[in-house]
Symmetry: C2
């Protein structure tokens, strides 16, 4: 066989994904390590990092979650406070109700976690890690920052459940601008309001 990256790249990437899927399912997100996945796939850990950058991104790739969707889990909370509520509501609606490539893997993951305890365990560990990581900076000023981000996410997931999973007409038929107008101040409040 010839040396060089090209011939084996997609096969290697797929072998890593397959190993990661099995490992996340058996050990959960928190206990799974890049090193272990690399060993399962028979590759060097640095190659896993080269393909996927982090354990979060490896998990997202296993779940077919797009990079934009992944960002919505936490980094959307970064940035200046002004219009934070509006920005967060728009970002969530965009990934959860946008193009099917972004929204369908998320819906599948949410449905799966609600139906199946093993899938729920993976997802809860992933979200927890993502929340803790996303709130690394700025949390000194606001000790509730991680909880606040988790609550804002929950409230927006509730909107997705009402609109897309249960499909209550009055929620499903509301247009995005109305949702932003009514929800942005509430999300702003849960993220930033001091008692």
């Amino acid at each position: 066989m010839r040396r060089g990256r090209r011939p084996g790249t997609s096969t290697t990437r797929q072998a890593i994904l397959d190993a990661a899927r099995t490992r996340f399912a058996s050990d959960g997100f928190a206990a799974t390590t890049i090193r272990r996945v690399a060993a399962d796939a028979g590759v060097n850990p640095s190659l896993v990092m080269q393909f996927f950058t982090s354990k979060e991104e490896l998990f997202a790739a296993v779940m077919s979650i797009s990079p934009k969707s992944l960002a919505s889990f936490s980094t959307v909370f970064d940035g200046p406070d002004e219009h934070l509520g509006e920005r967060v509501v728009r970002a969530y609606l965009e990934v959860w109700e946008g193009v099917p490539e972004d929204s369908e893997p998320l819906m599948a993951m949410l449905r799966g976690a609600i139906a199946n305890e093993q899938a729920a365990a993976q997802l809860r560990e992933f979200i927890q890690a993502r929340l803790l990581e996303g709130m690394g900076t700025g949390s000194v000023d606001n000790p509730d920052a991680t909880l606040r981000a988790g609550l804002a996410s929950s409230m927006l997931i509730g909107l997705v459940v009402g609109r897309r999973l249960v499909g209550v007409p009055i929620l499903a038929n509301a247009d995005v601008e109305t949702l932003v107008r009514l929800m942005a101040p509430a999300i702003q409040s849960v993220l930033t309001r001091t008692p």
Copy 2:
């Protein structure tokens, strides 16, 4: 057989529940009528009303939802605006996370609706009717009132999904007073804030 109410009451009530369960499942909540359920059960419609008062309460009884839980779907939004957010957050947490007799049927109904389209159709019609009915008074001043109540409910259901169904630790471990402190202003905002 002797005349009198007692001997047949529980059998009659059960026959109505069985007929209603079948009818709600086949026709959905909106298209099902008390008259039709009564015909299916071979009783007079007035007897159905005597046992269950309304179609909403009949549906709740079929789903094993307690009267207190049923009230949380909408009537909690009635009353003076001051402390409305706090009252609503407490009421939701009380029924969704309170004694198992109240919370388990709700969780089962929510899980069922997320897993199964027929169950989702029933639930969405029920919630829609409940929202429209609950917002009958006072909505002249606030044309978004029904949507606002639906959004507040969604946001609180999202909290239940995060805490109980997915079980993200940072959400599941938060105590009720912290949740009330952080979420009450947000729920107050979505229910009452004028643009």
